[in-house]
């Protein structure tokens, strides 16, 4: 019963949602919107699991003085500060005015954005070092990868003089023609893979989401 009922629920809801797509009636659309609201709400409640785990892990680190436990204090401080400011110190639980709280916005603009943007920009260095290893022209395929990447990377370089515009045009062509063909094939592959996985879930072949007993 602990596994059969969930499997039955997946089957019934899965088949129902596939068929409702093909029913050209406004009630079908209403049901679609209704169930999408449902899973959105369930998903948000699931976030509490993640937040609780973060608090628990950080708290244990502090309590048992595990290595680098001091940083767990910073994590918890950031989390609770953001929640406190987001609710405007408890004044706006049920209105969105908490989102315009000065401190909430300042934390977003001057902590979250700089750190995340800098972390992404750091990838430029790591990608470059990975490229050095991957791009050595040892075979025809590696050479194709190397030349194509170099042309796209150098397309706005001002030092190429008269060949600059040709470089830019070639980069455009590479992005619009071979890249489009490759992306299109990959997107079709991903789509078919998603459909196959969804069918496996609905039919109960894929059950990993149920966990172990």
């Amino acid at each position: 019963m602990k596994r059969q009922i969930p499997l039955l629920l997946v089957l019934v809801f899965g088949i129902f949602m596939i068929f409702q797509y093909f029913v050209p009636h406004e009630s079908s659309e209403w049901i679609y919107e209704f169930f999408l609201d449902w899973i959105y709400i369930i998903g948000i409640f699931a976030l509490a699991l993640g937040i609780w785990s973060l608090i628990r892990v950080s708290y244990d680190k502090i309590k048992y003085k595990k290595p680098n436990w001091q940083y767990a204090v910073i994590t918890l401080a950031g989390l609770f500060a953001m929640i406190l400011f987001g609710f405007d110190y408890g004044r706006h639980f049920f209105s969105a005015e908490g989102l315009s709280n000065y401190m909430f916005r300042a934390f977003f603009d001057y902590i979250l954005i700089p750190i995340q943007a800098t972390m992404f920009s750091l990838l430029a260095f790591f990608i470059a070092s990975a490229a050095y290893r991957a791009f050595r022209a040892r075979s025809l395929l590696a050479t194709l990868l190397l030349v194509s990447a170099l042309v796209v990377m150098l397309r706005f370089n001002p030092y190429f003089g008269p060949i600059g515009p040709y470089l830019e045009q070639t980069a455009s062509w590479l992005l619009n023609v071979p890249n489009l063909a490759a992306k299109r094939a990959i997107i079709i592959g991903i789509g078919l893979g998603m459909v196959a996985t969804a069918l496996k879930v609905i039919l109960g072949i894929e059950r990993a989401y149920l966990g172990k007993d």
Partner: protein
Amino acid sequence: MQEMSIGTFLWTTLGAFLTLCIFSFLYRDNPFYKLAEHLVVGVSAGYFVIILWHNGLQPNLFNRLNDGNFYLLWLNSAAPWYMIPALLGVMMWTRFSRKWSWISRWPIAMYMGIAAGVAVPLEMKNRVNLQIYSAMTDIDWGNFFGGSLINSASGLSQLIIFLGTIAALFYFFFSKEHTGVFKGLARFGIWILMVGFGASFGYTVMGRISLFVQRIQYVGDWTKVAWSGISGTYTLVWFITFGIFALLAVYEFIQFMARRKKEA
């Protein structure tokens, strides 16, 4: 000189300090990087809690139930059936109990069933059918070379896109052995894929470089504002911020020299 209030300047200083903290990882893992890393984990988790509360739960759940009565569990509201997903959401929390965790499978199962059911027709339409439809364009035979071999709108380019898509798809098709004509097709497919991956890679690298330049400009602008401060307070903040990193550099240098001496 850029006009900036002392409050904004201090917040910008914090942004610049955290930017430098993250960049310090280029040298090696260090306490400053760890500080910024742990701070962003907490702040982003808190940010998502607030965003999903105000933009998710509030309009989709609370606003629909707010005409009901709390003491009647909102069952007298105009849309009482919205209590069901709330109840299912609460059932997810039984995950914390070993004894009752099986109850959390029900909402997970409903979630998976609805999501999988929605995905089947939508994925077929949006990813598969639309891409196939877009691939089936007329080849412009009258303008086959388009005046240049690198003209994206020429008939030749359209033919390369069409054949390239089929060849790249065939490269991943293993039900037919890649021999004879099919070997050539699969080989053309991997060429197209490699050129495509290279172009995507180059594009991504340029995006990251732009972001890097933008971060350097941010620190540069902050430095400019700090040096042009009339009262000297801004410059003092600049010295303190850079002083911290200078001390770190000196400390690391001493450690490095001590390690070298020990190794020798």
